[in-house]
């Protein structure tokens, strides 16, 4: 599903984002990307959605080499990758329902089923009653669930989450984790960047640890800090 081959990203003039990263993530895996702040987790994710280009090496997603992906095709790549961010990135002037529907509308195959589909996903994340609320009328946990609903509404084969629980209290975070876990159960590959130690330890999933842009550990069923 995801292949990084000897990938290096330097931010001008000379800040190391990622350095010589090689790794594979298979279809259906649930992977944690851990590491201290500034270790390169977000850089990894931004390379995946071609928000950044690597300076060296090759990134491919779903068998597609991103270096050969034309600019105008990037939106089509992104529709196949659900994205969840620490700051939710919801459109502030749209309701919960409209935010989810936006992801359906951009694909161009919106129809009379779209609203039904969006409502279904919203009830899946437990927010059916909040469909008409605007982001500023919802708690952080609720906003994050809306953003997960939006990321998942097109049933993308890959879902990536960049510190989705970074702004949330532990209890709410657990709910978000559960949601991602369920999404993974449907066959969707999930990649989650985090530095929530407790969460990672509890889940016993594959852990890739970064430090100063380099992979320092890649463990099949790891915890956050063990060797």
């Amino acid at each position: 599903m995801i292949k990084f081959e000897d990938v290096t990203k330097i931010y001008p003039p000379s800040t190391v984002g990622l350095e010589r990263v090689t790794l594979h993530i298979e279809k259906g895996e649930f992977v944690f990307l851990v590491g201290p702040s500034g270790s390169g987790k977000s850089t990894f994710i931004r390379l995946l959605i071609k928000e950044l280009e690597p300076d060296r090496g090759r990134v491919s997603v779903g068998g597609r080499d991103l270096a050969t992906l034309r600019r105008w095709k990037i939106p089509y790549l992104r529709r196949n990758i659900g994205c969840v961010f620490q700051d939710f990135k919801l459109l502030p002037n749209k309701t919960a329902l409209e935010n989810v529907m936006y992801a359906l509308l951009v694909t161009g195959n919106a129809n009379h089923d779209s609203k039904k589909k969006a409502l279904e996903i919203l009830s899946l994340v437990g927010l059916a009653h909040k469909e008409d609320s605007f982001p500023n009328q919802m708690s952080g946990g609720e906003q994050q669930r809306v953003s997960i609903a939006r990321a998942f509404v097109n049933h993308p084969p890959l879902l990536i989450a960049d510190e989705p629980t970074g702004n949330l209290d532990p209890e709410t975070s657990m709910g978000i984790m559960q949601l991602l876990y369920r999404i993974n159960k449907t066959g969707t590959t999930v990649l989650m960047a985090t530095h929530d130690r407790e969460m990672v330890d509890r889940m016993r999933r594959r852990v890739i640890a970064l430090e100063e842009g380099k992979v320092v550990r890649d463990q099949k069923r790891g915890g956050y800090g063990e060797d």
Partner: protein
């Protein structure tokens, strides 16, 4: 929900939400279009005025007097003049008519003409031209004609007038082009400000997988709406001001026939509306470009 209705809903929703920017852009379009409209009206009026003055360039051909040419010679010359395609019309002024005109001019003090014996005045042709610029060519044709004594057409005045009018036209044209550029810059800047305020929104749309055109359409609809409305109000203001001013000028200028109805209202309206719409759309497109590069 269809795409088009979605785009329209997006556009009008954001015009309403960002009403401050909407008003700022509207005012900018409005002011630019009023100035452009004012210049257009001025250009149309002055060029009508100038061509009226140009039309007054006339050739007067004095015939010989001692002896006067025969009626056959006069008829032949008249026929020849009228066969030239540069000539719009020619009038024959007989010796008698010339004398009558002179008497008319001096009717306040007829004593000046008392010493006149007989009629020493020459007959003449007054020739007006289709294109006043051909005056030199036409005048030259009378050289060496047996019945012609002298050709007069105010050569220097005509030349000066022509250089002045062509310079005035070039200047005004340049001014309009300059004004257009300033308007586009002003408006695309205003729109860029409004887009800058929504930079984050555009980023989110791109991350969710919206194509550039999907993001662009609502912005362009917004720009066109603002451009159209600004221009409509400007058209109303320009046309009302124009007719008010015409009334004023007519009342104060009695000595001169100014062609004040020279402004073609339909073209001015269409030009302003078209420019408004194009500027609005272009402003949005240009303003948005930087933010789509994610």
């Amino acid at each position: 929900m269809g795409r088009i209705s979605f785009f329209l809903k997006e556009a009008f929703g954001s015009l309403r939400r960002n009403y401050f920017m909407t008003i700022a852009a509207l005012v900018t379009v409005f002011l630019s279009m009023v100035v452009l409209g004012g210049v257009l009206v001025f250009v149309y009026t002055t060029s009508a005025l100038l061509s009226e003055v140009e039309q007054k360039v006339e050739i007067t051909v004095y015939l010989k007097t001692d002896p006067d040419p025969s009626q056959e010679q006069i008829d032949a010359l008249q026929a020849e003049i009228q066969s030239w395609k540069e000539v719009k019309s020619s009038t024959f002024v007989s010796k008698e008519e010339a004398l009558n005109r002179l008497k008319e001019d001096f009717k306040e003090n007829p004593e000046i003409l008392e010493g006149l014996t007989g009629n020493p005045l020459p007959a003449s042709f007054e020739v007006s031209l289709v294109d006043p610029k051909t005056v030199d060519t036409v005048a030259a044709r009378f050289n060496g004609n047996a019945s012609v004594d002298e050709v007069r057409y105010g050569k220097e005045i005509a030349d000066k007038l022509f250089t002045f009018t062509s310079q005035a036209r070039n200047f005004l044209l340049g001014f309009i082009v300059l004004l257009g550029i300033v308007a586009v810059l002003l408006i695309s800047n205003t729109i860029r400000l409004s887009i800058f305020a929504r930079k984050r929104e555009v980023e989110i749309m791109k991350l969710v997988g919206a194509t550039n055109w999907f993001i662009r359409w609502p912005f362009i609809i917004e720009g066109v709406t603002v451009g159209l409305f600004g221009a409509v109000v400007a058209v109303v203001v320009v046309l009302v001001l124009n007719s008010v001013l015409i009334g004023r000028i007519r009342d104060s200028l009695t000595f001169m026939t100014v062609p004040l109805d020279a402004v073609p209202y339909v073209s001015v309206t269409l030009i302003l509306l078209a420019v408004g719409v194009v500027i609005g759309a272009a402003g949005s497109g240009i303003g948005l470009r930087r933010f789509l590069k994610i």
